[in-house]
Amino acid sequence: MIGSVFNALLVHEYLERVRDRWIILISILFAALGAGVSLYSQNLEGMDSVQIAGPSLVTLATLFVPLVALILGHDAIVGERERNTLSLLLSLPISRTGLVVAKMLGRTAALCTSIIVGLGGAMILTAADGRGQILALMVPTILLGIAFLSMGVAISAIARRVTVAVNVAVALWFIFVFFFDLGLLELMVITEGAVSKELIHYLVLSNPAGLYRLEMLTYYNADIFTDEMGISVVMPSQTIRLLIWSLWAVVPLAIASWVMQKRQSFR
């Protein structure tokens, strides 16, 4: 029965999220833009369409996927609390950690659906020989989404109001997707190179959006982008990269679980 509560919650979370009009809207937009990029790159004469489409899709995913993930995660707990359904859920035979994990997994499945629809749309419109390279985006993009989804769930456990959670989620999106790299460039300029490029490189890798961008641009051999940023790309081993992704998936979730364990008020 305990397993059935977990499974029921997981399935419920998935179905509810994939029916969410905002998630549907953003997924369609992502798919449409992805398809547009693919079609545009195929029409460029004398150029490798995947070399153009790949990095463009990476940029697109770096913008969209963290946003979708944060939207998916931000109300996981606080939304239940505000609707006065959290105490009812916690009265069921499921632990607080179980509830957080079920919500995370259900929403992860919804996120995967959104990403598969988005990138799948681009794949369908890409020439057959380029599909493999678009497919290579799938797993890292899902990892990127999980990292931000986990952050969203942590926000939802900490925030006491949905409006606060939304604001924090949007702020995090701006910080990680836009301001982080800009901040690092600013740091390099202000310190006139006193901060080592190596440190900057590791700082870029510590940001899931940065790690994803560098990982995929390296995959597409699009060094021109990173060279322009003045960053020497030496990608860490796959194990280290997986460790970074795992930490981003697990640590915010663990924080969410810890906050829930400490919580004594559910209204």
Partner: protein, 300 residues
């Protein structure tokens, strides 16, 4: 589950003592009503039993054995929070389907339950279009399907119309007949009059009184109101009542009403019998429970 007992439970929130050494026992067939002013600790006590609040000290005994509020305990409990709500995107049918799945209940019961709670015509409507009373009815449907040994209700009459309250009464009555345990927090004294077997009055996190409604009435010894039918003998009877030191005597157009301490009732009846066939018929009106409640809080 035969009994659940709360022993010496204390709960504090950032130094504020929400519950102080609370003792409470619910036995087979009990429908125990928790009442008290706002902030008395009623919801905190319910939440402690649900594992939503962790006590600083004290223990919970299940059938006389100390127990933890873990998943195995929660399997035996059904809970209806105050102003219950459900996921906006679900229909009434899907809410019951979800809880049937969670509780391992047969889905065949869903339609029957929706009929019982009067929501069969709204079964495919989304919950967010429901009124507060309809959501509460749906909550009662969840409880009906769960049929758990221990039922915990927080202000269960919120938003319910007369049909809904009647449904709630039926649930409480059936549970008492089946010797199941029920604990509810409410301010609705009308509900208590009809269905509660015991009443627990709380104030400032402390149990001020816990007993059956009859015993609580006796303990405060509030005056009992006796209303006599109109009779030419009424003035004569009023004089005798004065001699018995009735606290309030009102005589209007040969109609007499008297207030007397409960312990004086036997003497009043004795005088009444002496009048023989000419004695006016009467009605004894027990003190209202709201008066008992107020007297108990003042007394403490």
């Amino acid at each position: 589950m035969k009994s659940i007992e709360v022993k010496d439970i204390s709960v504090s929130f950032s130094g504020f003592k929400a519950l102080q050494k609370v003792d409470l026992k619910i036995e087979p067939g009990d429908a125990l009503m928790l009442t008290g002013p706002n902030g008395a600790g009623k919801s905190t006590l319910l939440h402690t039993l649900l594992g939503l609040v962790l006590p600083d000290s004290g223990k919970i005994l299940l059938d006389g054995m100390e127990t933890k509020i873990d998943n195995s305990f929660k399997q035996k409990v059904a809970y209806l929070p105050e102003a219950v709500n459900f996921s906006d995107s679900l229909s009434a049918y899907n809410v019951l389907k979800f809880f049937a799945q969670v509780r391992g209940t047969d889905r065949i019961k869903i339609d029957e339950t929706l009929r019982q709670v009067g929501l069969e015509k709204a079964k495919h409507r989304k919950v967010h279009t429901f009124s507060c009373g309809m959501r509460q009815r749906l909550g009662l449907g969840v409880l009906l399907m769960a049929d758990s040994p221990l039922l915990i209700l927080d202000e269960p009459t919120t938003g319910l119309d007369s049909e809904g309250i009647s449904l709630l009464f039926d649930i409480l009555q059936e549970r008492r007949a089946k010797k199941q345990l029920t604990l509810f927090a409410t301010h609705d004294f009308g509900l208590l009059e009809r269905r509660a077997s015991k009443m627990c009055i709380m104030q400032n996190g402390v149990v001020k009184a816990l007993d059956t409604p009859d015993n609580l009435r006796s303990s405060v010894n509030l005056p009992t109101h006796i209303r006599f039918q109109s009779s030419p003998k009424a003035p004569q009877f009023a004089v005798l009542m004065e001699q018995l030191k009735a606290t309030k005597i009102v005589l209007e157009d040969e109609q007499l009403s008297v207030e007397t301490p409960r312990h004086n009732l036997a003497a009043v009846m004795s005088v009444w019998r002496e009048f023989g066939v000419e004695a006016p018929a009467f009605r004894i009106l027990e003190p209202e429970l709201i008066d008992v409640y107020e007297a108990l809080l003042e007394h403490q």
